[in-house]
C-alpha cells in the first residue's frame, strides 16, 4: 500500500465527515451516540443502492437518507421525549449492527461473495467529490456557527436552551435539526467507507469509527476545523501502522494508533472539559409546563 497525503486524506475522510456531523449535534446540546449506527446503515444502504442501480451517486443519496432516518428515531426519543441519550444511542447502534448484518447475510449469502460495487469516481487528480465536499462543508459549518443567526441559535440551544426559547426560537427544533444533520453526515461517512474506499460492504465494517468520531469532537474542542484536523491526524496515525508493520520499528505501532486517543485523554486530564464544551451538552431539555 502506497502511503501519501491523498491516501491519508482518503483514509481519514469517513471519520472526518462523521465527526463534522457530530460537532453540529453536540453544538446544539445532543451527544449523538447513535452516530456509529448511522454510519453503518449508510455503508450498507449506500452499497445496496449503488449495487442495484449501478450509480454510486444514488448510493450516496440512499446512505444519507438511511443515516437521517435512523437519527430521526434517536432525535424523536431523546429530544422530543427527553429520553436518555446514552440509552437510546446504544439501542440505535445495536439495531444498525443487527439489521445490516442480517440483511447482508440474507441477501448476499453468509460468506459475503465479493460484490463489484461501482466506486465513487475521482475528479481532479485522485481526489474525489466527497473529499472536496468535506473541506467545503467544514468551512461552511465553521462559518455558519460563527457568523449566522441560525448558527448562534443552534449554539444557544446547546449552551442554555431556556434562553433560546426566550429569544423566540424552538430549542427542540434546533436540536432536532442538529441531530438530523449529524445523521445525514454519518450516513455519508458510511457510504464513503463502502463506496469510496472499500468498494464493498462487510458486517460491522465501521468498526468503532463512529465512536472515534465522537471522541474527535472533544479532541477538536467543538470547533469544525479543529475536529476535522483531529480526524486527519488520526487517519495519519492509522496509516502509519502499515508502513511500520512492514519494517521493524522501535515504537510499537499500537502506541501510534492509540496516540490520538491518548492525546485526547491527556487534553481532558489537563484541560478538563473546558469552557469550550456546550454547557447543556447531553442534558435533555423539557419545555416548561409540557408533558
Amino acid at each position: 500500500m502506497n502511503i501519501d497525503g491523498i491516501a491519508i486524506w482518503q483514509y481519514a475522510t469517513p471519520v472526518a465527515v462523521a465527526a463534522l456531523g457530530e460537532t453540529v449535534a453536540q453544538r446544539t446540546g445532543v451527544i449523538h451516540i447513535g452516530l456509529e449506527g448511522a454510519m453503518l446503515v449508510g455503508a450498507f444502504f449506500g452499497m445496496l443502492a449503488a449495487y442495484t442501480t449501478g450509480s454510486p451517486w444514488v448510493g450516496v443519496m440512499a446512505a444519507m437518507l438511511a443515516g437521517t432516518a435512523l437519527s430521526a428515531i434517536f432525535a424523536w426519543l431523546t429530544v422530543l421525549r427527553a429520553a436518555d441519550q446514552v440509552v437510546v444511542g446504544t439501542a440505535i447502534n445495536l439495531f444498525a449492527l443487527g439489521i445490516t448484518g442480517t440483511l447482508y447475510r440474507s441477501q448476499f449469502g453468509q460468506s459475503g461473495k465479493i460484490l463489484s460495487v461501482p466506486k465513487l469516481p475521482v475528479l481532479a487528480g485522485r481526489i474525489d467529490a466527497v473529499q472536496l465536499l468535506t473541506i467545503i462543508a467544514t468551512i461552511g459549518i465553521a462559518l455558519m456557527f460563527r457568523l449566522s443567526a441560525l448558527g448562534l441559535a443552534m449554539r444557544s440551544a446547546g449552551e442554555y436552551p431556556k434562553a433560546t426559547e426566550s429569544a423566540g426560537f424552538s430549542a427542540l427544533k434546533l436540536r432536532m435539526a442538529g441531530t438530523l444533520v449529524s445523521g445525514a453526515l454519518g450516513g455519508l461517512a458510511g457510504a464513503y467507507l463502502s463506496l469510496g474506499i472499500a468498494g464493498a460492504f462487510a458486517e460491522n465494517m465501521t468498526a468503532g469509527r463512529g465512536f472515534l468520531a465522537i471522541a474527535m469532537v472533544t479532541f477538536g474542542r467543538w470547533n469544525a476545523v479543529g475536529v476535522v484536523g483531529a480526524a486527519l491526524l488520526v487517519g495519519f496515525a492509522d496509516s502509519l501502522q502499515y508502513s511500520l508493520q512492514a519494517g521493524r520499528s522501535v515504537i510499537p505501532f499500537q502506541l501510534l494508533i492509540a496516540l490520538p486517543y491518548l492525546v485526547a485523554l491527556l487534553v481532558l486530564i489537563f484541560v478538563g472539559k473546558g469552557t469550550r464544551a456546550p454547557a447543556a451538552l447531553g442534558q435533555a431539555y423539557r419545555k416548561e409546563g409540557t408533558a
Binding site: D84, S106, L265
Partner: protein
C-alpha cells in the same frame, strides 16, 4: 403474592412476550422461516445438556457486564466502557498468570488471585473515567469511549510484546494450564465456576443496593445528586466507588471468559460483551435479580442463534435487532408514562 412481586412478575412477563414478538416480527420481516427458526433457536439453547451449557456460558459474561452497568448507572454514571474494562481486567489477570507460570505456582489460591487481579484491572480502568468526571467535568460517556479504544490497542501491544506466547509467532498469550483455569463440573461441558460466581455476585449486589446504607446512598446520588449533597452524602466518593465496582464487575466478565473458556488472550478476545451488557441491564430494569433473568434470556438467544446460523443465513446479528427494539420500546413506554416536570436550573 405481594403487590410488588406481582408488579415484577407482570414486568417480566411483558418483557418475555415483547422479546418473543420482536423475534417473530424480525424473522418474518427478514423473510426467514419463522417456525423452523424458532425451533432451531430453542434447540440450540435448551435441547440437551450441551445446549444448556452453551446458554450458561454465554449468559455469564453478559451477567457480569450487565451487573457492572447496573451499579454505575444506578449512581448516575453512564459507563459505556464495559468493553475496555473487560479487556484490562483480563490483561491484568494474564500478567499475573505469566508471573505464576514463571514461578511455577499453581493451585486454587493462585486462581483466586487471578480473579482478583481481573477485578482490579477493570476497576482501575473505570476509575480513570470516574476521576475525569468528578475532577475535570468530562462526561463518562466520552472518556469511556476513549478508554475502550486505548484498551484494544493495549491488548494488541501486550499480546505481541511483553505477554506474547513463548514461541513468539502469533500475537496471543500462552495457553493457560488447566491448574490455572476456573474449575469445571463436567469434562464435556464448558460450564465453569465463574457461572456460579456470577449468580452469587448478582445476589450480593442486590443486597448491597437494596439492603445496606452505602447501597441506599448510591441510589440516592443517582436519583438526585443535589438532594444527596444537601443531605451530607459524599457524592463524589459514592460515584467514584460505583465506577470502580462497575469496572471490577466488567473485569470479572473478562476473567470468566479468559480463565473459564478461552485460556489465552489475542485479537479475537473482545466479543462485545461489554456493550451487550448495557441492553441486558436496561431490560433488567437496572435491578440485579431481574438482570440475571435478562442475561440468561439473551444468553439463550445467543446460544440459539449460533445454532440457527449453522442452518440458515440468519445469525446472532438478529439478537441485536431484538435487543435494540425491546430497549427502544421500553424507552418509549417509560417516557410516555412519566410526566415531565419543569426544569429548575
Amino acid at each position: 403474592m405481594t403487590a410488588q412481586a406481582r408488579g415484577h412478575a407482570l414486568q417480566a412477563g411483558s418483557l418475555i412476550l415483547g422479546v418473543t414478538i420482536a423475534l417473530i416480527v424480525a424473522l418474518a420481516a427478514l423473510r426467514i422461516p419463522v417456525v423452523d427458526s424458532v425451533r432451531l433457536i430453542g434447540e440450540g439453547a435448551f435441547a440437551d445438556r450441551f445446549a444448556l451449557a452453551r446458554t450458561a456460558v454465554k449468559s455469564t459474561p453478559l451477567l457480569f457486564c450487565g451487573l457492572g452497568m447496573v451499579v454505575a448507572w444506578r449512581a448516575g454514571m453512564y459507563n459505556i466502557g464495559g468493553e475496555g474494562q473487560y479487556i484490562t481486567g483480563a490483561l491484568a489477570s494474564a500478567a499475573l498468570a505469566k508471573w505464576c507460570l514463571a514461578m511455577q505456582w499453581t493451585g486454587p489460591v493462585a486462581v483466586v488471585l487471578l480473579i482478583l487481579a481481573a477485578a482490579f484491572g477493570g476497576a482501575l480502568w473505570a476509575a480513570i473515567a470516574g476521576w475525569l468526571f468528578l475532577r475535570r467535568g468530562v462526561e463518562v460517556v466520552i472518556s469511556t469511549i476513549l478508554l475502550n479504544f486505548i484498551a484494544v490497542q493495549l491488548l494488541g501491544y501486550l499480546t505481541s510484546g511483553p505477554l506474547q506466547e513463548a514461541k513468539r509467532q502469533v500475537p496471543q498469550t500462552d495457553l493457560l494450564p488447566n491448574e490455572l483455569m476456573l474449575g469445571r463440573f463436567d469434562r464435556q461441558l464448558d460450564v465453569h465456576v465463574g457461572c456460579i460466581l456470577a449468580l452469587v455476585t448478582a445476589a450480593a449486589l442486590a443486597i448491597y443496593l437494596f439492603r445496606t446504607v452505602p447501597g441506599y446512598r448510591l441510589r440516592v446520588v443517582g436519583e438526585n445528586r443535589r438532594f444527596a449533597a444537601v443531605n451530607y452524602i459524599k457524592t463524589d466518593r459514592v460515584q467514584m466507588s460505583a465506577m470502580a465496582i462497575s469496572g471490577a464487575l466488567c473485569g470479572l466478565a473478562g476473567a470468566s471468559e479468559y480463565l473459564g473458556i478461552v485460556g489465552q488472550l489475542g485479537n479475537t478476545f473482545p466479543q462485545q460483551w461489554g456493550f451487550l451488557g448495557i441492553p441486558v441491564a436496561l431490560l433488567g430494569g437496572l435491578h440485579p435479580i431481574a438482570t440475571v433473568f435478562s442475561a440468561i434470556g439473551f444468553g439463550a438467544l445467543f446460544a440459539g442463534t449460533d445454532n440457527l446460523a449453522r442452518f440458515t443465513t440468519a445469525g446472532p446479528a438478529i439478537v441485536y435487532v431484538i435487543q435494540a427494539v425491546t430497549v427502544l420500546a421500553y424507552v418509549f413506554i417509560q417516557t410516555r408514562r412519566r410526566p415531565t416536570p419543569a426544569e429548575d436550573t
